[in-house]
């Protein structure tokens, strides 16, 4: 598809005519003017020769560009008089020298100073991975998320192949640098999302609620993030939805597990999209071998509406609403004599997010939003009945001024949350005994931040965030600082430091809200990034300390008095990412490695210990190869995680969390074949997860009581729900591209 030969320059009708045109020109110059030769050199402020500088006599055509040694030489035929010689190069402040013609032939020497860089020209890379098509420094493109083998188009699963994460196969969520899954928060267009993942039962991995196709850019930050984001101790995932949909189209999909339809309509300033999916794994789980018994295979309905409307020159109003309902019942191996335990799940979630951004007066612009969410989950583990209902209203206003000063900008914002969580616990379905724990929270946050540029090479970001929680009856203040230094044109060094606070998890608040406080983390991150011509190397070291983590006595999880914020911990490590898009034609690959050294005491941990969700070494190799002849993109992902810890109840003398699981290994493959079906663009997608059926073990379930005969507790391994996962899907987009032109008469 190279366009290299596309240009065959147009030309004048014939060379003779060209000569004719040049002739009077030559005559003119010789007849009336004389020539003066101007020569000299151009250097930058550091004394280095600058090539490619346009040096010329202003107001004339006479000039030349400097050579590789910064030298120039040209003739001017301008008549006698006063002139200005100008030296200009993009990215430098133009230099001038007065010139009086006729001039003595003294060499001219120019020194060009670099332009004070525009804000944002030095990018802070510490802690952040970006998936974007717009920024050239981004680690991934938006398409990467959809095509990573093993991720099955799940945003969190795709980011799980980046360094700094541990693959926790039984959970499917993001575990960042020794942090629990609940310590990584998801923001959609700046708004904190209360329930970003579909509900699930223990040992069945969850999927994100949002389709990756909704987003134009995603930032995954594993530490040191901006003061604009709070309530996350370990990481944030920032999702930025697309603006106006590019064109009107209809999408149909039929896959081994779901059927879907969508319709997008585009007007001049507005676009509207609706979609509906029906998922049912019943026939799929019957066809393929499973490790569990499905009494009711997962099934559900998901629907969404999104509206984008451009207001004025730069305003954008977005409304996104989604409703999902799902249910399942699973029979899992149990260590008890029954041999099986069953868990049923019914979930319903409604989410509405409205955001507006637009310019105000005097250089200020506004980013604001309101989000409503309602999440209803009913769990039925054996005879227990558990219903959790969470409702939340969130509002956010950010004022941004990019023109307060050429060297810094200003962002001021506030956020408010009203949240109501209630639970109904019925320990035995046969007995009417019920507990009804609940809590209501009102939280207010304010933040200030400024991006600044100290010199051509040094930029930074300083900010602070403060939150007040009515439920916890306390407030916090979190300073944040980040600096970036551009070491060469292709490399940079960044550092970030900050304090981070988070309200304890809902489950902890339900048990002991009045006794608890904010949990706290401190991050220090140092990053080196090299990027050149499609290759990227990122090396990041970090050190984090955790304090005020919520802990409780594992023997009495329902006694509020057994809870306090005395937990603590640390995490340190090194993350490495190497990505190459250019060395081999049509091949893209990246290799990520994360080293993690962490210990913590939180929740029911009696002592400081390596948490069960942390692996010391994590490796992912992700490759994608485009086979042009077959119109097919094939991908392979290999993941390795060193042995995770578990607490062996049969070896209490060994200590807490001293058991070691086997190492985690998984190879996944996928292929996307692009074709046409009934004249419409179609993608056929095949994905195989855990191709080699590696028998990974995620932990053990222990029996309540030791066996009377052996004195040992019986146990069963927690494994994936199936040895392999196979996904086959056909996606058709019906797009009347180039509809009949309104300027032409229809035939």
């Amino acid at each position: 598809m190279a366009l290299a030969a596309a240009h065959i320059w147009a030309s004048l009708p014939c060379p003779a005519m060209k000569r004719l045109l040049l002739l009077p020109l030559l005559l003119l110059t010789f007849a009336s003017f004389a020539q003066t030769t101007l020569r000299g050199t151009v250097r930058d402020a550091g004394g280095q020769a600058l090539p490619g500088v346009n040096v010329f006599v202003r107001g004339t055509f006479d000039g030349a560009s400097t050579d590789s040694l910064g030298r120039f030489r040209f003739e001017t035929t301008a008549p006698a008089g006063a002139y200005v010689v100008q030296a200009s190069l993009l990215g430098f402040i133009m230099a001038e020298k007065p010139l009086t013609l006729p001039a003595p032939p003294a060499p001219l020497s120019f020194v060009l100073k670099g332009e004070p860089h525009a804000l944002g020209s030095v990018v802070i890379t510490a802690g952040a991975f970006e998936a974007s098509d717009e920024h050239r420094s981004a680690a991934l493109t938006t398409r990467d998320i959809q095509t990573t083998a093993g991720a099955l188009a799940d945003v969190a699963a795709a980011f799980n192949t980046l360094p700094g994460t541990t693959r926790v196969g039984e959970d499917g969520l993001l575990f960042v640098r020794g942090g629990a899954a609940s310590e990584t928060k998801v923001y959609l267009d700046g708004m904190l999302v209360q329930n970003p993942f579909n509900p699930t039962v223990a040992a069945v991995p969850a999927r994100g609620r949002f389709s990756p196709s909704l987003f134009k850019g995603t930032v995954f930050s594993t530490g040191g993030y901006s003061a604009l984001y709070g309530q996350a101790l370990s990481g944030v995932l920032l999702l930025n939805s697309t603006d106006l949909a590019p064109e009107t189209q209809t999408g149909l999909s039929a896959t081994s597990v779901f059927l879907g339809a969508s319709r997008t309509k585009r007007w001049a300033r507005t676009s509207l999209a609706v979609s509906a999916d029906y998922t049912n794994l019943a026939s799929y789980t019957k066809l393929l071998p499973q490790n569990v018994r499905w009494d009711q295979a997962p099934r559900g309905v998901a629907s969404s509406v999104s509206l984008q409307h451009r207001t004025g020159q730069a305003g954008m109003l977005k409304v996104y609403g989604t409703w999902t309902g799902q249910q399942l019942q699973i029979g899992q191996p149990s260590p008890e004599p029954a041999g099986m335990q069953t868990v049923g799940l019914r979930g319903a979630n409604a989410y509405l997010n409205t955001t507006f951004r637009g310019p105000l007066r005097r250089g200020w612009s506004l980013q604001s939003g309101v989000a409503l969410s309602r999440d209803d989950q009913r769990l039925r583990p054996d005879s227990v009945r558990l219903r959790t209902l969470e409702q939340a209203l969130l509002g956010r206003v950010v004022l941004i001024n990019d023109s307060v000063h050429t060297r810094f900008n200003l962002k001021i914002g506030a956020e408010g949350l009203v949240q109501q969580v209630s639970q109904t616990v019925q320990p035995n379905a046969a007995s009417p005994l019920r507990f009804r724990p609940e809590f209501g929270e009102q939280r207010l946050a304010g933040f200030v931040e400024s991006d600044f540029q100290l010199s051509d090479r040094l930029a930074g970001r300083v900010g602070g965030r403060s939150e007040y929680s009515a439920l916890l009856g306390g407030w916090n203040a979190a300073p944040r600082l980040a600096l970036a230094y551009q070491t060469t044109a292709n490399s940079s060094l960044s550092a970030a430091y900050g304090h981070f606070y988070q309200t304890p998890d809902n489950s902890l608040l339900l048990a002991a809200a009045p006794r608890l406080r904010f949990e706290r983390a401190r991050h220090a991150v140092l990053t080196y990034q090299y990027t050149h011509n499609g290759r990227l190397l990122q090396l990041e070291g970090y050190h984090k300390t955790y304090s005020q983590l919520t802990r409780f006595d594992g023997q009495q999880p329902r006694n509020p008095q057994a809870f306090d914020n005395g937990g603590s911990g640390y995490a340190r490590g090194l993350d490495l990412l190497w990505r190459d898009r250019t060395s081999v034609k049509n091949l893209e690959y990246y290799v990520s490695y994360g080293f993690l050294d962490t210990k913590r005491q939180f929740r029911q941990d009696p002592v400081l210990a390596v948490p069960t969700f942390a692996a010391r070494h994590n490796v992912s190799v992700v490759t994608k190869y485009w086979v042009p002849g077959l119109h097919t993109l094939v991908g392979a992902t290999y993941s390795y995680g060193s042995p995770r810890r578990y607490h062996d109840l049969n070896q209490p003398e060994a200590g807490y969390n001293q058991g070691r699981l086997p190492a985690f290994q998984e190879l996944s493959l996928n292929a996307s074949y692009l074709t046409k079906l009934f004249g419409q663009f179609t993608v056929v997608h095949l994905a195989l997860n855990n191709v080699l059926a590696q028998p990974n073990v995620f932990g053990y379930r222990y029996a309540q009581r030791p066996d009377a005969a052996t004195g040992q507790r019986n146990r069963v391994a927690i494994t994936p729900t199936a040895p392999r996962m196979v996904f086959l899907g056909v996606f058709v987009s019906i797009n009347k591209k180039n509809p009949a032109s309104v300027n032409e008469r229809p035939e």
Binding site: L12, L28, F33, S88, P104, P105, D133, R143, R581, N586
Partner: protein, 233 residues
């Protein structure tokens, strides 16, 4: 070493004395003389730009157009041709993608300056913008075709709306379709009628002035000739 220096000094001195003469002799109205000289110089500069495929010459041409823009700052054409020269440079040079992207950034900066000037031909500017999108696309077709193909189309359609007889709009549109894989609704056969449309419009096209954009006719002819030779095979 001394000798050439001396000759140079002598030469300079003689030239200097020679240069003084016309300054006093020039009696023609300065304004018209300047305009004529400008038009003549621009004509030569455009001719040079249109007859080269050499990256070095294209760079020099862009620099010359930047100089021309200081001679007549209110004229949009030097900025237009500066953008054009930089754009064609990215197709002809052997530089890597990052360098080409930087050159295209410069081309877009020049185009933005042209857009600000009164009298600029909006349709022609849109065609050039579409062509720049196409250049971006061709740097990394695998990653960029989704996004930029639509942007080329949007700019070209707007250009046609503003001037339905602009042959260059049809040329860029046809190229975009030509390089789009058949399964996405592109390909040589789909592009052919658009190339023919471009040819029709070139036949009746009259540039507004001697300096106005008039490139592309030969490219269309070349493309259509390729169809003939392909058919013979």
């Amino acid at each position: 070493m001394k000798k050439p220096l001396l000759t140079l000094a002598l030469l300079a001195a003689s030239l200097a004395s020679f240069a003084q003469k016309p300054a006093t002799a020039a009696t023609a109205p300065a304004a018209t003389a300047a305009t004529d000289a400008y038009t003549t110089m621009m004509t030569a500069a455009v001719a040079e730009l249109m007859s080269t495929g050499d990256p070095a010459v294209l760079r020099a041409s862009a620099a010359k157009m930047e100089r021309a823009a200081t001679v007549k700052p209110q004229d949009w054409l030097p900025r237009y041709y500066q953008a054009y020269a930089l754009l064609i440079h990215t197709f002809q040079s052997k530089e890597d993608g990052d360098a080409k992207d930087k050159t295209l950034d410069q081309a877009e900066a020049a185009l933005a300056q042209a857009r600000k000037l009164a009298g600029a031909d909006e349709s022609e500017l849109l065609v050039l913008q579409a062509y720049i999108h196409q250049a971006r696309l061709s740097i990394s077709p695998m990653l960029r075709s989704m996004k930029y193909s639509g942007m080329v189309n949007e700019a070209v359609e707007k250009a046609i709306q503003l001037n339905p007889t602009n042959p260059r709009a049809y040329l860029v549109k046809a190229n975009n379709i030509y390089y789009t894989p058949a399964m996405f609704g592109g390909g040589a056969e789909v592009a052919k009628p658009i190339f023919l449309q471009a040819k029709t419009h070139y036949a009746t096209f009259k540039p507004a002035s001697r300096l106005s954009p008039s490139w592309g006719e030969r490219q269309v002819a070349g493309r259509l000739k390729n169809y003939e030779t392909a058919a013979v095979k």
